[in-house]
Symmetry: C3
Subunit: 357 residues, 3 copies
């Protein structure tokens, strides 16, 4: 009965079949097959992140626009937060920073690229509200600016870790404050401008069920994230994958797979406003909420992480931001722009794979 | 009688009370209290710069739009020029270059940020002419480009000081020529497009009085600038302030305080066009007129200064330019954009303070 | 008779008089005057490139819009391709990479700058279709992004030449694919949007004559390019010109002189759409077609060239792209913008000349 309810409520989507990797990863762990643990825990996170997203979405609908918006603004990138937590606990700060950059760049180039390309093959011309896109883009530009400024001062000189940590905490406070300010702007002082684009959804789940799925999925994501982080280094050596590639490309793709699917889904329906909101909004959230929150978390459980990114990380995040800013300014897109965004992402991924080896 | 006239003419504004630091700084100098000299001369420059600005403004009104515009284009950043002169004379080239960058970045992020935030708290929606803003922004982009190109070639290689000097002189000539070209454009060939936004001012001062105040204030700024530069290094060690912070943040804030006040004043009155013109116009003037003129001055009194900025200086000036270009393109703003610009400025200041220590 | 026909068909333009340097360069080569060979072969390439362009143009008109567009998309930068071929054969990879960047930057800043300035002195206000310019600009941004990403990962670390070569081949494949995609977009799926701006030309040459001129000019360009490349290093030492300057400035100016002339010609006639198309379109073609094709060629005849540009090359190509993106967004221009673009180019040239010595 419970199970029947569940299957009725949860539309069995292809992605959910990947849930089979949750038990498989535990078995792999039990028999100490590190590489298998790495691969299966990564695959298990994909459907769990999707479930997290669905539960958050359902709860948000129940809570109404204001409190629902707040919930999305807090839990929208919960998977990234959980994975980040375990990376901090394991002391893998360089990989953590790479996943933050990779998540921003992936949302901007891979998600938008796939969406524009897929949507553009079906619809000759696609439009979205350039005004909303422009607000998102300028927020993003400022978030990225905040994130990369500390790194710039470091080039060509050695800086004490005390100074790095002090700056990181300050920057985290500023970014988090601006994130709260943006919430106040969109939900309080200028709420009339932001009648959130309706996704045509009604709450299919009860609040209790949604909370239950949310809690269970979060727990399982935590479990799988720990498996993933623990098996990371063994698997990297065994598979000969560069660490930079895992941080910049692999982990963000796993964590964002569900968002990718949603963004493409709405692009195929020619609802580009939602696609743009998912992709750019998620990037902004990573820069202004997830990254600062992880700094605060790191303060409590270990040394604070610093915001000193590598030159390559700064370069690609600046490029991705610039490209999306320019591309989204006219409120129009087509399959060629999608292909070009994808091309830029592929070049970044190939470069990260080969050169950093 | 004279004094009564003066108080009638000069509205006693809070800023003018700071004039009391002119004699105090002289006393501090007489008793060799270097740190006190530094602090009080800095405070004394604030109202003197304001008086310089007022006198220039009054004279400009008397001279009419054409010659008045020329006066503003020449003396609009006189305080920066005077402080720069003494920095060259003292051989503090690194600090001088930092003040030039700090003045551009401060005008773009701090002045516009405070103005948009303050104005936006009073007015729900604020608009300005995106066309004028766009002309200013593309001028600024080119000015900044000119300023940073020489630095880029230097990264990763040592370059003889002869070559640096030769390039700096050439770049100064090109930037100054483009500045004169822009004056010809706005005042001669395309003057019809630029009926300067009226600031609703009539000349309250006689020409003679304005010239007198201008000369007196310039003299006193020169005196205080010399005190400031002479006490700089002693105060920096005593107060444990990083040199980079003094150049990038402190000195530009002192020199631009009066402009800050004006820009915010007009933003509160929802006259954003004037605010944007003050902030972006002043930045362009520093890049294309003050910096080149200081190169020519340095040729006469010392080795020519070079235009080889640090990676951090290039990064923040590029970021600030980009942010303002993107932000000003839609001709609309609000308190959130103001807060974001301010946030970017705070992150830059905190980074300069901690990491460069 | 043949000759009479030729002079009737070929309007004797001042540029054609430079053809006299073809035999002169051969004489100089015969008497082993390296410097004279360098100068005269450079001068000989100017009219030959013009003839190549004319023949391609004439053939394109005969072939009709679709196949003609394809011809232009393939042979539009044939001179750059031929010179690049001989640079690869001679192993001058650093100079080759500089010529690619110099060709992009020169088209964006020098060609557009001269055209806007010249056109703007004759016409008070000049407009072009911002939509077309925006499509070109975003293509360019992505092309440049693809070109510079590999270089960014290299900063501050040594990377094996195997990895560089693998990345370069991948990037070349991606860029070439996107170039073909853009051709499919403009000629097949969205051809209705791109009724190419008519240049008011009718085919003055027969197809056979055009093919003949094309073949003869290509052969002679090949001959002169070989002379140029062979005499390069001797001439550089004799004339004390920095190698960077030759690659970034001299060779691209020679190869693009004919395009410069056309772009200015149409600007003087206030047909800015064609000017913008020549300049930005040619830059995009160098980044997405010429550079990848040269990678494939280098694979066959030597080690593959890599796409790891210097910091200066990346900086100036990013700057030029940004400036043109911002400048072209409003679809308006004037002599001041032209002068500013020119100023940026002069600063780059002067910097390349002095600092890199």
């Amino acid at each position: 009965m419970q199970l029947r309810n569940l299957t009725r409520r949860l539309p069995v989507r292809p992605m959910h079949l990947l849930l089979v990797f949750v038990p498989i990863s535990l078995v792999a762990q039990a028999v100490h097959q590190e590489t298998a643990v790495f691969v299966t825990s990564a695959l298990a996170i994909v459907p769990l992140a999707a479930l997290l997203g669905e539960a958050t979405e359902q709860l948000a609908i129940r809570l109404g626009p204001q409190r629902g918006g707040l919930l999305n603004a807090t839990l929208g990138n919960l998977t990234e937060l959980i994975v980040g937590f375990f990376l901090i606990a394991a002391g893998d700060v360089a990989i953590l920073k790479a996943t933050l950059i990779g998540s921003i760049v992936g949302n901007l180039l891979l998600v938008l690229g796939l969406s524009f390309a897929a949507g553009g093959l079906r619809h000759k011309s696609m439009t979205f509200n350039p005004r909303t896109a422009s607000i998102h883009a300028s927020s993003l530009l400022l978030a990225v600016a905040g994130l990369v400024v500390p790194a710039m001062l470091v080039f060509g000189q050695t800086v004490g870790s005390d100074a790095r940590e002090a700056v990181s905490i300050f920057v985290a406070i500023v970014l988090m404050s601006l994130y709260l300010a943006a919430l106040a702007y969109t939900n309080i002082t200028h709420a009339h401008l932001f009648h959130a684009p309706s996704r045509g959804e009604t709450a299919a789940w009860s609040s209790r069920f949604a909370v239950g799925v949310l809690a269970a999925a979060a727990l399982l994501v935590g479990l799988e994230a720990e498996l993933l982080v623990d098996s990371l280094h063994a698997a990297i050596s065994a598979l000969h994958i560069p660490t930079v590639f895992v941080g910049l490309i692999l982990i963000p793709v796993i964590g964002n797979a569900a968002e990718h699917a949603s963004a493409i889904f709405f692009a195929l329906k020619n609802k580009l406003d939602i696609t743009v909101e998912i992709a750019i909004g998620s990037s902004t959230q990573v820069a202004m909420f997830v990254a600062p929150l992880l700094v605060f978390v790191s303060l409590v459980i270990a040394h604070p992480i610093d915001f000193v990114f590598t030159g390559f990380e700064i370069g690609i995040v600046a490029l991705a931001t610039l490209i999306v800013t320019v591309t989204s300014q006219d409120g129009e897109t087509n399959w060629l722009e999608g292909a070009q965004l994808l091309g830029a992402y592929i070049i970044i991924a190939v470069t990260a794979f080969f050169i950093a080896a």
